[in-house]
């Protein structure tokens, strides 16, 4: 039986080989060749010698800040949800997921309307006599856009882990003399680390490579790695090879940081994304 059953994984293994592994090999191939198809290391060395390191650093900083903000907002939120009635919990999760169904190109546009100097927020502030705050075209605006777009991806896994914690464990802790605060810090937090790690992955990865949000909310006055990669595939100086090299470095950077994260975290396979 058991032998036959792992046959079920084969379609997926074939699929992964064709559409996950093979494409990666193409990125590799393009990274180490030039326009004529000859092998070269120039694409990689070019990244090391110029401004690209700074672009990487900028993206890293922005993504890091956005991820931490998401975590700080999402963690208490998930905790509050997990202590609500079951029916309310699922409605709350729906409300968190719902913004994801809106096209992010449009919601980003709406943020523009909100944050501008003559935008909605400043107009409202004007009524109560607070003078216009400059928000649009700053890194802060871009981070706001990222947090908005990716917050649900942080809430979901954390919530699902917290909701999965057996209430009897918490009762037991209380019986043994834990205060509410102790329960939170000594029981819930250690048990929810796997959710936190999935959440960090799901927010950090898209925010480091985003390009639309930075263009619209950042005013195009600074460049992130997503913008740069995109420009080599559809910009003025199309260069698939260099674009592939940039993608490659970005990918390796992310894989390393995720590898570190995962080693640090528990085996998070036992818990799902959502309950």
């Amino acid at each position: 039986m058991s032998n036959r059953r792992n046959l079920a994984a084969y379609p997926h293994i074939v699929w992964s080989a064709l559409f996950i592994v093979a494409p990666m090999l193409f990125v590799l191939y393009y990274t180490f060749t030039d326009g004529a198809g000859d092998p070269t290391l120039e694409n990689i060395t070019r990244i090391g010698t110029s401004n690209y390191l700074l672009i990487f650093l900028n993206s890293l900083c922005m993504a890091l800040i956005a991820t931490v903000i998401c975590l700080v907002i999402a963690y208490p939120l998930a905790y509050i949800f997990s202590r609500m009635r079951a029916d309310t919990q699922s409605i709350m999760m729906v409300l968190i997921m719902l913004p994801l169904w809106m096209n992010f190109l449009i919601t980003t546009y709406s943020w523009m309307t909100l944050l501008e100097d003559t935008g909605i927020i400043n107009t409202l502030l004007g009524y109560i006599g607070i003078g216009p705050l400059h928000m649009i075209n700053t890194p802060g605006a871009v981070i706001t856009g990222m947090v908005f777009c990716f917050l649900p991806y942080m809430v979901m896994p954390i919530y699902s882990v917290m909701a999965g914690i057996d209430p009897r464990i918490i009762e037991a802790a209380k019986d043994l003399g834990c205060s509410d605060r102790d329960v939170l810090f000594r029981v819930v937090m250690p048990m929810s680390i796997s959710g936190v790690i999935s959440g960090i992955t799901m927010v950090f990865v898209p925010s480091i490579s985003t390009f639309y949000i930075s263009q619209k909310l950042g005013g195009g006055t600074f460049q992130l790695i997503g913008d740069t990669i995109e420009s080599y595939f559809t910009g003025t100086a199309i260069n698939f090879h260099f674009g592939a090299a940039l993608s490659m470095v970005l990918m390796i950077m992310i894989l390393i940081s995720m590898g570190v994260m995962n080693r640090f975290g528990d085996e998070n396979e036992e818990r799902g994304l959502l309950k």
């Binding site: 058991s2 792992n6 393009y30 699922s90 913004p99 994801l100 449009i106 709406s110 917050l151």
Partner: protein, 264 residues
């Protein structure tokens, strides 16, 4: 404490919904602008309903996301069942890591790598049209798969192995035991995976942008192409309609399922 957490929830929801409120407001704009309200009207709704190109792009998006969600859920569920039964830990971890690649890979890299693959295959086969519905579908299934597996696999792992064994001892064939015992247990995970897959592919822009072709345009690509000319409130009207439909659907779903639960 209760009050504090209510206040906190309110703030977060205001944050999450303010751009949507803006979107809904502007969809009723009488003027042409997406920045400046000049009055209220339904003109953009009327216009949207006659906008065949946008509606077609929307329909394409729906078809693409449903097909890709269904296929990836099927594949992913099968895969989870299989993966959970791979005995060798090293192989199991290898399969799992490869599966997770599209999730830890930036969208832009996934999109580009798939595009490079399609371009190359098309050239090798001498076919000129590599990008279209097929390539988009493959791409969407590929990036949805890890999310499905991530939702289903834990459910399978939670299931006590002795339960299906007991079923078989009581005379079930392995097939019966799977369909009658295991499947109902893991079905919440499957539904979550399906919804996740649909949501992701519905809203995807980056990967679609690199893998779409001449015959098939999704809504996000269509909107992105308006970059040179202005974005008109018509798109906001369509999004508002989507918002209302989804909101109603999900709330009805929730009401029904909580009633289901109570009846049980």
């Amino acid at each position: 404490m209760k009050k504090l957490s209510k206040l906190y929830l309110a703030i977060v929801f205001i944050f999450l919904y303010s751009p949507i409120v803006v979107m809904i407001l502007i969809s009723f704009n009488a003027g042409e602008s997406t920045a400046h309200m000049t009055g209220l009207s339904l003109r953009w709704y009327r216009q949207m309903l006659s906008d065949d190109i946008t509606l077609n792009a929307f329909r394409n998006t729906l078809v693409l996301s449903s097909v890709s969600a269904l296929v990836s859920t099927l594949l992913g569920t099968l895969a989870s069942v299989g993966i959970s039964r791979i005995r060798k830990r090293r192989i199991r971890n290898a399969v799992k890591n490869v599966t997770n690649l599209p999730m830890v890979n930036p969208d832009i890299v996934t999109g580009i790598s798939l595009m490079l693959l399609f371009v190359f295959t098309a050239q090798a086969l001498g076919r000129e049209s590599a990008l279209g519905f097929g390539s988009l579908l493959i791409a969407h299934i590929t990036f949805s798969l890890p999310y499905v597996i991530m939702s289903v696999l834990p459910k399978i792992n939670q299931l006590d192995r002795s339960v299906p064994e007991a079923a078989m001892d009581l005379g079930c064939t392995p097939m019966q035991s799977f369909f009658k015992v295991e499947l109902p247990f893991i079905s919440p995970g499957i539904v979550t995976g399906l919804i996740m897959a649909f949501t992701l592919s519905f809203d995807d822009f980056v990967i679609s942008n690199f893998t779409s072709g001449a015959s098939f345009e999704t809504l996000t690509i269509h909107i992105y192409a308006m970059i040179k000319k202005s974005v008109k409130p018509g798109i906001y009207a369509l999004s508002t309609l989507i918002f209302i439909v989804v909101m109603t659907l999900i709330l009805v779903y929730n009401l029904l399922s909580s009633r289901d639960r109570r009846e049980r």
